[in-house]
Amino acid sequence: MKAKIHVYLKPGVLDPQGAAVAGALHNMGYDEVTAARQGKLIELDLTGDDADTARKRVDEMCSKLLSNPVIESYSIELE
């Protein structure tokens, strides 16, 4: 099984990387970009085939390691 985890900054947390991306795109003439945010995508390959267990375990990995609750949220997709 594969888990795709999307980790992104919580609303209200300053995102220096996103701001730099937006700024750079503007400088290049892409004026249609009104905002940019940058997050992480973590893909895990997992053994086992019980989706419920996998989701529970991956959720745990996210809260214990893969995201920092002070600044980040996450979402999980299983494939």
């Binding site: 220096p16 990387q17 730099a20 991306v21 750079a24 400088n27 290049m28 940058q38």
Partner: protein
């Protein structure tokens, strides 16, 4: 004899960079046609990068031995004696092509590679330097390349925790299509615990440690030796990615292993990875080698023996252990969470035998791979001599302050703080002077002692282009001078010889000229070459880079309390110039920036004078007579004075004698060699002048410290605030134009 083995064609042989004569030698040596794995192995071992086939004939001209030399060229790095049972181990290397293709990873893996050369020998790396050459500031690619290279050097060095303490940066249109990224690493070891690639005997286990092998950089070695053309973009996937975290663990684990007595020989996997590391150890030990490719730690599935042997995956080492001691390595490398595997053993066959999936995939004698690698005496002719150019031949400008401002904010002279602020310069807590400090060389304390290493990198490509022989001499002399100006005893150099295509006679002429000039300087200054690297084929579409023999010099400061910098000048100090000023203007910064010309001969370097003046200055530093000391180079006296004024936050009143035969602009901006600018209290200045007279060293009073501006004969003022803003502002101004996303 069949000409080609199954599946191999003349085309494939050619793609491996092996020409007809070379292929004929292989056929003769093997007594049969090589298979694909064997061809790949010959290809990398006989590439310019690994075999030095165009350069070996001339590298022998360097003096390489001396009282303090423990190991000269031929091992992973050079080793010098710094007393008290301690040794300094250092080397410089290029990563030019990879950095042009992928600046961040190219530069980062360059740093990783040079660090491995140094800790392979048992040294703890203590300092990094970088010598960078970029294209014209306004060239479309320049800012992108600067940004990526600097981030890559910092990204790697900062993470492994070795301070990047200095370097040099030039911009010139001659590097538009071929930037130069030369990195130098310096380490410390005990003289009785140095490790070599030689020393293996038959019947010893071969242990692979570090990262797994992937398909990275296959053909990297041949790529580094091939000329660039418009199709180079296609070679992109061969660039390797570095992992400084693994390198850090590898350093610690290797040093831990080296503290045991379990190692017979050790070699990092650099260019041509497993191939060159195993062949070199086999060759130096005069033995054979058997590797079981199934045991090689692999990152990807279905790797072929060919891929594994040619992979340039980073952060890997090969260790030949004493029999029965494999466990020692396993314990240490497991603790550091690194891969470790016994992948073969040394034999007495003198052959390199590889097995994979039950088959023998390679069986060739070791000797021809290493010793019998082709060696070329390439034809060359020296470039036409250029006439000297003196300030007298050049129109005198109106306002010297304006000229000085322009020079100090020109690309080569402006502050490089934008670069070095991205480097951790203080980690390890032994940095006493780095890029930010007013010191002609970086100074790194020998941990726990009052001794310090002085380290510099130098080369003036303008001079080498104008006159390879004088330019080569000058590069070595300037390195020697920079070390001297801190109070250090210069000991030895490493070098990185960056040139164009050696198959062109004029390029080969530059190469030979530079080497002969360097060799003479090394000889007269007792400053031998202990390690180095050659990078040829630095050309794009037939246009070669300016000849750039970068020199990395190392010296020793016996007592940290007896050293000099150029930031201590005080109001009322007398300024003195050691050495004669004649107004040499050929190939000078003044000529390029003010007159827009790059002609004229390089300034002449008289090595006996160089030595006399340097020894004099060092004596004055040790006598504690100087408040500031700076060697004079690019931009002459005025630019040296400007550096001193900015660093000391004190103005300087320069005095040019109107009746002098040297015109004012020659006095201020001439680049005559063997000169130093000193600042001293009045009484000390008198003593210096007396000593100078006794020792027949020309020393001239050129001005007085004071005020908030630099003036000449009370006129031409340049306020320090204005100067500082321009000097500091140039590079941020350039880089702010860059549009780039975050990594």
């Amino acid at each position: 004899m069949t000409q080609y083995a199954e599946g191999i064609t003349a085309e494939i042989v050619k793609e491996h960079g092996i020409n007809d004569e070379e292929y004929a030698v292989i056929l003769e040596r093997l007594g049969r046609a090589p298979n694909m794995v064997e061809l790949g192995i010959f290809s990398v071992m006989w590439s310019e990068h690994c075999s030095y086939k165009s350069s070996r004939a001339h590298l022998g001209k360097f003096p390489t031995s001396g009282e303090k030399v423990i190991q000269g060229p031929g091992e992973n790095a050079g080793v010098i004696d710094i007393g008290d049972g301690q040794a300094c181990i250092f080397k410089m290397e290029s990563h030019n092509h990879p950095s042009y293709i992928e600046p961040y990873q190219g530069a980062a893996t360059g740093v990783g590679g040079i660090l491995r050369d140094v800790f392979t020998m048992g040294a703890r790396p203590v300092a990094l330097m970088n010598a960078l050459r970029f294209g014209a500031p306004d060239h479309a690619k320049t800012t992108h390349l600067v940004s990526g290279v600097v981030a890559g050097i910092g990204g790697y060095g900062n993470c492994v925790g070795v301070p990047t303490v200095g370097g040099e940066t030039n911009f010139h249109a001659g590097y538009n299509g071929n930037i130069l990224v030369n990195a130098m690493a310096v380490g410390l070891a005990d003289t009785d615990n140095i490790f070599y690639a030689r020393g293996a005997e038959p019947g010893q286990p071969i242990v692979y440690v570090g990262s797994k092998t992937g398909r990275d950089g296959i053909h990297g070695a041949t790529m580094a030796s091939a000329e660039f053309d418009d199709q180079s973009e296609e070679k992109r996937p061969t660039v390797q990615v570095g992992d400084p975290f693994v390198e850090k663990k590898l350093i610690e684990a290797c040093l831990e292993l080296m503290a045991t007595d379990a190692i017979a020989a050790i070699q990092d996997m650099g260019a041509a990875g497993l191939t060159s590391s195993s062949v070199e150890m086999a060759d130096k030990g005069g033995i054979g080698i058997h590797l079981d490719m199934d045991k090689v730690p692999q990152r990807e599935s279905h790797m072929t023996a060919y891929e594994m042997m040619l992979s340039e995956s980073q952060e890997r080492m090969l260790v030949i252990m004493k029999p029965g001691r494999e466990d020692v390595a396993y314990d240490i490398f497991k603790k550091w969470e690194l891969d470790v595997a016994v992948i073969g053993e040394t034999t007495d066959s003198g052959r390199m035998v590889l097995t994979h999936k039950g088959e023998t995939v390679c069986d060739i004698p070791v000797a021809p791979l290493a010793d019998d690698a082709p060696k070329y005496e390439r034809p060359y002719f020296p470039p036409e001599a250029r006439a000297q150019l003196n300030a007298k031949d050049i129109a005198k400008p109106d306002h010297m302050g304006d000229i000085l401002l322009k020079l100090m904010s020109s690309p080569d002279m402006a502050s490089k703080a934008w670069i070095w602020k991205q480097y951790d310069r203080h980690v390890m807590a032994d940095t006493a002077a780095s890029s930010e400090d007013p010191s002609d060389a970086a100074i790194v304390r020998v941990h726990g002692t009052k001794k310090a290493l002085a380290i510099t990198t130098d080369c003036t490509p303008r001079y080498c282009f104008a006159d390879p022989y004088e330019g080569g001499k000058q590069a070595v002399a300037e390195a020697w001078r920079n070390l001297t100006a801190t109070g250090a005893d210069p000991i030895a150099i490493t070098d990185c010889l960056n040139f164009g295509n050696p198959e062109r006679e004029e390029i080969m002429g530059q190469f030979v000229g530079c080497i002969e000039g360097m060799a003479e300087a090394c000889d007269v200054l007792s400053f031998p070459v202990v390690s180095g690297n050659v990078s040829l084929y630095n050309e794009t579409n037939g246009v070669a880079i300016p000849p750039t023999p970068a020199v990395g010099g190392v010296g020793l400061i016996p007592d940290m309390d007896q050293r000099a910098g150029f930031g201590g000048m005080k109001e009322g100090n007398i300024l003195l110039v050691v050495g004669e000023t004649n107004g040499a203007m050929g190939a000078s910064v003044y000529l390029k920036e003010i007159e827009g010309r790059e002609d004229g001969g390089a300034p002449l370097v008289d090595l006996k004078t160089e030595k006399l003046h340097g020894d004099f200055v060092r004596g004055q530093i040790r006598a504690g007579r100087l408040t500031a000391c700076h060697d004079l180079s690019d931009g002459g006296l005025a630019c040296g004075a400007a550096d001193m004024a900015l660093a000391s936050d004190c103005g300087i009143k320069l005095a040019h004698e109107p009746e002098s035969t040297v015109p004012m602009h020659g006095f201020l901006f001439g680049e005559d060699q063997a000169r130093y600018l000193l600042a001293a209290e009045k009484e000390d200045a008198i003593a210096i002048l007396q000593d100078a007279k006794a020792e027949e060293v020309p020393v001239q009073v050129v001005g007085l410290a004071g005020g908030t501006a630099i003036t000449v004969n009370g006129a031409h003022p340049l306020e320090l605030d204005r100067l500082r803003a321009a000097w500091e502002g140039w590079m941020p101004g350039l880089m702010d134009k860059l549009v780039e996303a975050a990594e």
